[in-house]
Subunit: 320 residues, 2 copies
């Protein structure tokens, strides 16, 4: 059986659609893996790209993709709501089928070395691929962002895992890692007050005492004219989506604002949705069928989690 990984590079460009298309070109119509989606966000000025398939087949096209990004994106001129330190900001390998986490860590190392050798970009290995404890959490590495990294990378504890302690003058640095599937999840509020989103994010995230596996912050979506609580759910088995969404609704009350919708960026495992549907169906005294079709999962998830811009192909299992 072929090994299948999910690979989710994020590039620091979310506005110029032509440029984005030029950068992702090497990832399209390739043998052995699929470009599932690319999701540009103008406010974040960032695009999340999702690949699924055989990791061996991804390596060469990914290298080409990094090379084009290094020509097309100059971080000295980049502004956006999402923190970033590289033109291709992060690139995690995620085990999906017939492959272990250890294998994914090896792919991250191999690919990180390749990037450094061919493009002279300094590389940090992060998450499960981290070689030092201070590199497990991406926000720790990224603290100070592109602008701060010029000096930070010269501190001994922040020497890169591959390459010299000096940023690439336009690309910045690359973070390459291996991790379990996480869920990038955002909850929309009907206010443009960023302080409200910041306060609610603080109430729910692990670093300030909230849900342990939730990293959350505020984001102002100028295009849409409202804020959202933006988060990564690092362990959806322990921090279920419904629980986070319902708590955000509770906290919203004190600010007299409302949750209008929510969104999943990238892919989401079926299991994570079923877990929340089980809650809502039981709470509504409906019958929960764990063997429901992916179409049904999609329909009910849109209803109960108030998902916008969602369809069946956002579910990992629909792409296998």
């Amino acid at each position: 059986m072929n090994p299948i990984v999910q690979c989710v590079p994020n590039i620091s460009e979310g506005k110029d659609l032509d440029k984005i298309k030029r950068i992702i070109k090497p990832l399209q119509n390739q043998d052995g893996f699929k470009l599932i989606s690319y999701e540009p966000d103008k406010d974040y000025n960032r695009t999340v790209i999702t690949l699924i398939g055989h990791p061996d087949m991804m390596i060469k096209p990914l290298l080409k993709f990094y090379e084009i990004a290094s020509h097309e994106i100059d971080l000295n001129y980049h502004k956006g709501e999402h923190p970033r330190m590289g033109a291709v900001d992060v690139c995690p390998f995620i085990p999906i089928q017939n492959i272990t986490m250890d294998d994914c860590i090896q792919y991250a190392k191999k690919f990180g070395e390749l990037i450094q050798n061919h493009l002279n970009i300094p590389v940090f290995l992060y998450a499960m691929a981290a070689q030092k404890p201070n590199r497990v959490l991406l926000p720790d590495i990224r603290k100070g962002e592109f602008e701060g990294m010029k000096d930070k990378i010269k501190e001994k504890e922040w020497f890169p895992d591959f390459g010299k302690p000096e940023i690439h003058s336009t690309f910045g640095v690359a973070a390459i890692g291996a991790r379990m599937p996480l869920i990038a999840y955002n909850i929309d509020l009907d206010t443009d007050n960023e302080k409200t989103a910041r306060q609610i994010a603080k109430y729910i995230r692990g670093s300030s005492g909230g849900f342990q596996y939730v990293q959350a912050g505020p984001a102002l979506l100028k295009e849409r004219n409202h804020v959202q609580v933006t988060m990564n759910i690092l362990d959806y088995a322990k921090n279920a989506i419904y629980r986070i969404l319902e708590l955000v609704k509770i906290e919203s009350k004190r600010f007299n604002v409302h949750v209008t919708s929510s969104e999943v960026v990238g892919l989401i495992p079926k299991e994570a949705l079923l877990d929340s549907l089980k809650y809502y169906q039981k709470a509504h005294q409906e019958t929960f069928d764990k063997d429901m079709s992916l179409e049904e999962v999609t329909k009910l998830s849109i209803k109960y989690l108030q998902l916008r811009d969602f369809d069946i192909y956002k579910i990992i299992e629909a792409n296998l």
Copy 2:
């Protein structure tokens, strides 16, 4: 200015009121501190005793109290819903006014040594007074309870801080510590299904990914014929009561049960109540007055937190 501590010994007897009165006799009508309350619980078979005053004045009466407890309580015959390992199970010193945490740690050590010397009871120092990392969290020390402690205490990593590695045959072991004020808080459910309370406790507590400073478990109150989610809130500034209560209400929905009331065992800082009242009053678009009287705090807390068996003297500040 005199230093003021709160001291909250818990004894493993909650049924025999005459016995309880004999044990707490040395703590009554003393100079320099007040016996604020003693709260026997038949289901827990445990009594929480609250003292407030000058720590120097408490030491001698507390020693006498331990001595009587060691005669009156035999843990070989103790059954109750609350885990326990000693006749006086725990005894924390809590800084309230004109005293530092370091001072309280010193009182814990001094008193622990005294107990060991006079009564030959092995003593574990816990929480901020812990001398080893495995003794910071009380549940880690208490795991296995009285019955398991006979063997556990002989393992090198569980040698007591004072005394020989052998339990007192009837008393068991003592845990003496220093900590910030915590809130012992229980939420009542209208079901007698302990599994429901266990599941909800798991969703909310830090050890399984929930709120970081919440330790929670299930308890069946046979006398009252319902279960409760029983918890300690170790840092109420980070894990507000209202947030925990509201999340328990959310989780209850999936089991088709309801929160009927909640209770504070021992004392609670005014600040913790104000923090929740601020939430509820804002959510109800009422005016929140942070300088409201303690009577008003009491009234509104009973209303919004659905507190039972609550009065103004459960608020620390009403006893100073």
